[in-house]
Amino acid sequence: MKIEVTKLNIANEMDVVLAHRRAMQIAKFAGISLPEQTRFATAVSEICRNCLEYAREGNIIFYADNDSEKAAIEAEIRDKGKGITGLDKILERDPLTYRGRGLGIIFARRLSDQFEIRSGTGGTVVRIRKTSFSKKTSLSKIIIDGWKKHIQDEPSLSAYEELKIRNAQLLEITDELRQQKDQIELLNQRLRQSNKNMQEFTFAISHDLKTPLTSLKLSLSLMQPGEKDARLTDVINRSVNRLDKTIHGLIDILHIQNPDKQVIRDVRFAQLMQEVEEDHRASIQSTKAKIHLNFKKAETLSYLEGYAKSILTNLISNSVKYRSALPLSITILTEPTKKGVRLTYTDNGIGIDLSQNSSDIFKPFRRLTTVGEGKGIGLYMIKTMVENNGGSVQVSSTPGTGTTFIFDLVKYE
C-alpha cells in the first residue's frame, strides 16, 4: 500500500531547499545509507527546481510503499505547467557532451532507482522511487505514522518553513472568516426582510386597532350621560368585539412564533382530522359540508402537533367562512416526499383572485374580501408555521370555483 508521508507545495526557491531536506529526512527514516539519501534528495531537488523554473509552481508528495515485492519510498512531483516539449530528445542528452541547461531530468533519472515522467499540456508528473535499502526496514502503517508524527512535531527546519506554516494557517483562518462573513451577510439579509415584515405587520395591526378605537371614541362622545342609545351601544359593542378579535389574533401569532414550547409527535392525519372536525362540528353541520379524506399514501408525519392542528383548523375555518352557494366540499390528500409529506387541500369556495392579491394573501391583517368576518391572520399563521422548518406552501385558485393549497411539510427530527 502506498502511504502518504508528507507533502509540501513548491512556490519558490526556498521550497526546493525544504523539499531536499524532507527527502533526506524520509530516506534516513527508511534506513537508507547517507550516499543513497543524498542521491534521492538530489534527484528530488533537480525536479523541484525544474518545476519551479518551467511551471512556476507545483507540489511534492512523499510516499512510502510497502506493497510491492520491494519496499520503496517515492517522491511525486506534480505541476500544472504547459508540459515539456520534446521530452524524448531531452532524455537523450548526454551530460558529458551537452552544454547548456536542461539536464536536470537526466540527472534525476540517473540518481533514481525507478524514474517515471509523464508530461502533457495539463502539466507534468514525475515519480522518483528509491528501492535500494541498506538494511531491512519495515514500512508498516504504524512506523510510517511515526514518521508523520515526527515530521509534524519537529521544530521547523528554518525560519522560512515556520513562516510557511504560519502562512498556511493564516490562509485557513482567512477562509473561515470569509465563510463566516457570508453567513453573517445571509443572516443580515434575513433580518432586514424580517424587519420589513415587522414594519408592515405593525402598520397593519395599528390600523386594525385604531379603527374600532376611533368609532368607540366617537360613539362615547355622542352619548349623553344617563341616556342609553341602542344604536350607539351596538356600535360600541361591535367595536369592542373587533378589538377583542384583533388582540386574540395577536396572541395567536405570538404563540406560533414561539415553536420551542411545541411538542414534536408522530401526527396521525386521520386522528388529527377527527379532532379538528369535532371542534368545528357546529359550523360543519350547519353548512352540510362534505370532507373527503385520503391519507393512505402518507398516514403520519413527525411534526409539531399544535402546528399541524392549527394549520388544518385555519384551513377549515376559512373554507367555512368563504364558501359559495354550493354545498361545501373539502378534499384533503397526503403523499410522501423526500423530506416529509405533501398535503393537498382543496375546497369549492368563492376562491381568491390571485391576479390581484397574490403577494398579499399571506401577509398579516390583510383581508382580501369583505365577505364574512375575519381578522386576516389565518393564512399568515399557516405560512409562518409551515416555513418554520423549511417547508413551503403554494396556492392556486379560481374565483367562483375554489382554492387549492399544496403544502410541502418537512418532518421534524
Binding site: 526557491e13 531547499v17 531536499h20 547517507l34 550516499p35 543524498t38 551530460p95 536536470g104
Partner: protein, 136 residues
C-alpha cells in the same frame, strides 16, 4: 535579504557557505564574488561548502561559473569541504565541474592557493626578466 559573507585574506577571498544555497542567494554570490575579485585584485577564491547539503546540477553550475569567471579575472577557485555523500552524488551525476579545483579542507585549500601564487609570481618574474632582456 540574506547574503553570504566574503572575507579577504591577503591576496585571497574566503567564502564560507553556511546555509543551503537557493537560487537568488547563489546568483548574488556569483555577482558579489566577481566584484570583490576585481576590487581587491584577489588571486584566489576559497569556497567552503562543508555545510552545504544540496549539491545538484544548479549548484554545480554556479560553482563552475564562479570558477570560470574568476579564471578570466586571473584568480584560482578552490572548493573545499565537500561532504563524501555529495561527492558520490556528483560522480553519479557525471556533472562537469569545469575549472573547479578542489581540496579536502580549508587548510589544504589555502596551501593549494599559496603554492599556485608562488608559481605564478615565479612565472611573472621570469616573464619580467625576459621583458627586461628584450628591452636591452
Amino acid at each position: 535579504m540574506e547574503k553570504i559573507p566574503i572575507l579577504k585574506m591577503g591576496d585571497f577571498l574566503l567564502v564560507t557557505v553556511q546555509i543551503d544555497l537557493y537560487d537568488r542567494l547563489a546568483l548574488n554570490l556569483e555577482a558579489d564574488l566577481v566584484n570583490m575579485i576585481n576590487k581587491h585584485q584577489a588571486k584566489g577564491v576559497l569556497i567552503d561548502i562543508s555545510a552545504v547539503n544540496i549539491v545538484d546540477s544548479f549548484m554545480g553550475r554556479i560553482l563552475s561559473n564562479i570558477a570560470q569567471m574568476s579564471k578570466i579575472l586571473d584568480a584560482l577557485t578552490v572548493v573545499v569541504g565537500m561532504q563524501p555523500a555529495v561527492a558520490i552524488t556528483l560522480i553519479e551525476l557525471g556533472l562537469p565541474m569545469t575549472g573547479v579545483r578542489t581540496a579536502l579542507n580549508v587548510e589544504k585549500g589555502m596551501e593549494l592557493l599559496k603554492r599556485n601564487r608562488i608559481l605564478d609570481s615565479e612565472e611573472e618574474e621570469t616573464t619580467s626578466t625576459d621583458e627586461d632582456d628584450s628591452a636591452e
